[in-house]
């Protein structure tokens, strides 16, 4: 009994600490608040935009900034919007799912009427959208059918399969051993869409060039376990002689780059230009394994979405797909890429990109599969 009460107290203490932690999160944003008057000032300088911005108050919901990829890309979009005179504020609401809804509700109470949140927060936003029909919700990085959505909800979907397709082609072309890998953090439909596109790219390269490159797709089990990721890659390099690695694993991906440095293999980054990020860092030598990065321009998409909403375009109750054609996904074409990837491979990638843009080539998507089994069978073909 005594022990039980001890644990109850412990649990309460834990909860209260967590509560303190998260309620202070929005308060941590004095910078954003301080920027608001500044933003107004620039808005006055440009009266046309000030008018446009007058009725939209934008809240960007994110667990934490500082991931150097997905969340930060969205934040760059917010910065752009602030520059244009919009009232846009970022809310870091932490990782406790039980508090998401309350915290998003908080932002609505503060008068924010356009909520940007990633697919992680779909359920909470959906519940609130029903309750607050005047508030608009834009969920990005998700894929929903119109009948699943309300009139004040819009969904942005990134065709990560298209970008992954191109880097998949490159991986197959660059592999000398005939084995490439895609290692991901946790399983979810968006991540599987990356994997599907990558596998499709390798397959098409095999078909076009008569090669037989195999793909390993493996899961780390966490977004922040670089140690496990590193060992996973070292094992693949050892047992399968894998020599091109594609990371779709958030923070765990840093472990993949270290494994590539250690084994002298190639890496492909994700979401933002990870070659540049490392080149500008304290460890520039780690950049020299990253051939290219698959880009996902979250920030740009939020800016263009805001403009569409302001112009009164009908984006509601449907999913807007942004892919290669909208420049929302792509790959980094820098000097390192040009120096290390042969010209014919680069040309093939550019040509495939054009074909996807014009619609003459259709890249396989995870959302095309009728069932999980079909997806697994697809992976099996090149395993």
């Amino acid at each position: 009994m005594k022990k039980l009460s001890k644990f109850l107290v412990a649990a309460l203490l834990g909860l209260s600490m967590a509560a303190c932690g998260s309620s202070s999160a929005p308060a941590e944003e004095p910078a954003a608040e301080a920027e608001a008057p500044a933003a107004e000032a620039t808005a006055e300088a440009a009266p046309a935009e000030a008018e446009a911005a007058s009725d939209l108050k934008i809240a960007y919901i994110v667990s934490h900034l500082g991931d150097k990829s997905f969340a930060d890309s969205g934040e760059r979009g917010m910065e752009q919007l602030r520059k244009e005179g919009y009232d846009a504020k970022t809310f870091e609401i932490g990782d406790d799912a039980s508090k998401y809804e309350d915290q998003i509700l908080d932002t609505i109470d503060q008068g924010y009427n356009l909520i940007y949140a990633s697919s992680t927060y779909f359920d909470q936003c959906h519940a609130l959208a029903e309750e607050y029909p005047d508030v608009k919700f834009v969920i990005f990085d998700d894929n929903k059918a119109p009948e699943e959505l309300l009139d004040n909800e819009a969904v942005i979907f990134y065709a990560q399969n298209e970008g992954s397709y191109l880097v998949g082609m490159m991986a197959a072309a660059m592999s000398k051993s005939g084995s490439v890998a895609v290692n991901y953090g946790m399983p979810n439909p968006v991540i599987f869409d990356f994997v599907t596109g990558y596998v499709n790219g390798v397959k098409d390269w095999n078909e076009a060039n008569g090669t037989n490159v195999k793909v390993i797709a493996a899961q780390v089990g966490s977004w922040s376990d670089p140690a496990t990721m590193k060992d996973l890659c070292l094992g693949q390099a050892r047992d399968n002689k894998t020599d091109v690695f594609y990371q779709v694993a958030g923070g765990s991906g840093d472990g993949l780059f270290e494994a590539c440095v250690e084994t002298g293999t190639w890496a492909i980054g994700v979401d933002s230009d990870q070659y540049q990020a490392y080149k500008d860092s304290e460890n520039p030598e780690k950049a020299d394994v990253i051939l290219t990065s698959m880009l996902k321009e979250v920030g740009n998409s939020l800016v263009s979405m805001t403009h569409s909403i302001d112009n009164g375009e009908d984006v509601w109750k449907k999913t807007t797909t942004l892919g290669l054609a909208q420049d929302s996904v792509g790959y980094v074409d820098n000097e390192f890429f040009q120096a290390n990837v042969p010209a014919e491979v680069r040309d093939a990638m550019a040509k495939a990109a054009e074909e996807v843009k014009s619609g003459s080539k259709d890249v396989k998507s995870y959302f095309d599969f009728a069932s999980e089994d079909e997806f697994n069978a697809y992976l099996e073909e090149v395993k």
Binding site: L13, A218, A227, D239, E258, Y278, N283, K383
Partner: protein, 307 residues
């Protein structure tokens, strides 16, 4: 596809190293009668302390020293709260672990402006791997024993050291007697508080080495939450071995081997990933059942002997 068994074993030893240190850390306080759940947080703090020290002082060994120092410091914080402040140890450890999760990110943010990892902001330093002369040329054994991280050899030494300390020295005897019966120990003039601090000192040392291994040998940067439960695994490893240092190391090795197995199978087999991620824990449950059945069996034999 072919699994390189020798490399697999070498890998398992590497993966076990932080667990062995974690187990030894928990073992030291357990021997003094304190169940220290704070090991997890102590390792996390030490991992950050190590890379911070290495970056600012520009030296691998300074990093190792800072990692150990952070371990000692965090050990002292828990010890002070529990032994001098008379707080409940469970509550202190839970609070400490929660504080460490947020606190490490906060300190990293203060130092670097990053909230996720120091991989860009801090220069990476790696503790060297050691190639042992002669042994490295022995066909199979050489690849397993030689070429490991320096800290892995330190871990092996520490297992022996802890055994020696507990069984062969006066301090060890006192630690064990305080753990067995603090009142009796006090009645013969042993200061329970002082012994508690000494136990936490060793605990901090090993936790520090565990964190240093994670952030300066396995990978070469700090990332939020990078310990991922390895402290708790070490804690349960020494629990399964009943506080025996060699047994704890062997159980840690079992964890390391099963984790390595599940990783290898992820790339090599078609088993569902969810099942593979279960392997280390499934192996633990099975091992616990067997060890407890064995001890029941032994007890019964002793009782029968008495009759």
């Amino acid at each position: 596809m072919s699994i390189d068994i020798v490399a697999f074993i070498a890998d398992a030893i590497k993966m076990s190293t932080p667990l062995v240190f974690a187990a030894l850390a928990a073992l030291m306080t357990r021997q003094a009668g304190m169940f220290n759940m704070g090991v997890e947080g102590m390792i996390l703090c030490s991992a950050l302390g190590a890379v911070t020290g290495a970056h600012y002082l520009g030296n691998v060994w300074a990093g190792v020293a800072c990692g150990i120092l952070t371990g000692l410091l965090t050990g002292f914080v828990i010890a002070f709260a529990h032994l001098s402040g008379k707080t409940d140890l469970y509550l202190t450890c839970i609070a400490f672990n929660l504080a460490a999760t947020g606190g490490t990110v906060f300190i990293m943010y203060l130092l670097t402006g990053e909230k996720s990892t120091t991989s860009g902001a801090f220069r990476s330093y790696q503790i060297p791997n050691i190639n042992i002369p002669i042994i490295k040329d022995i066909p199979i054994l050489g690849r397993i024993i030689s070429g490991q991280s320096l800290l892995t050899y330190v871990a092996v030494f520490c297992v022996w050291f802890v055994w020696f300390l507990l069984k062969r020295t006066r301090v060890g005897l006192r630690i064990r007697s305080v753990g067995e019966n603090p009142k009796a120990a006090e009645s013969v003039g042993i200061s329970v508080k002082k012994i508690g601090y000494i136990a936490f000192l060793f605990c901090g040392l090993f936790a520090g080495l565990s964190g240093t291994f994670l952030s300066m040998s396995w990978v070469t940067f700090f990332m939020k939450n990078m310990v991922n439960g390895r402290g708790y695994i070490g804690l349960s490893a020494q629990n399964m071995a009943n506080g025996n240092p060699v047994g704890s190391a062997l159980v840690s090795l079992l964890f390391g081997a099963t984790s390595s197995l599940s990783l290898t199978l992820k790339s090599q087999s078609n088993f569902p990933t969810e099942f593979l991620e279960m392997i280390p824990y499934l192996a633990t449950i099975i091992a616990i059942v067997f060890t407890s059945l064995y001890s029941i069996h032994r007890k019964r034999k002793i009782e029968q002997g008495i009759k």
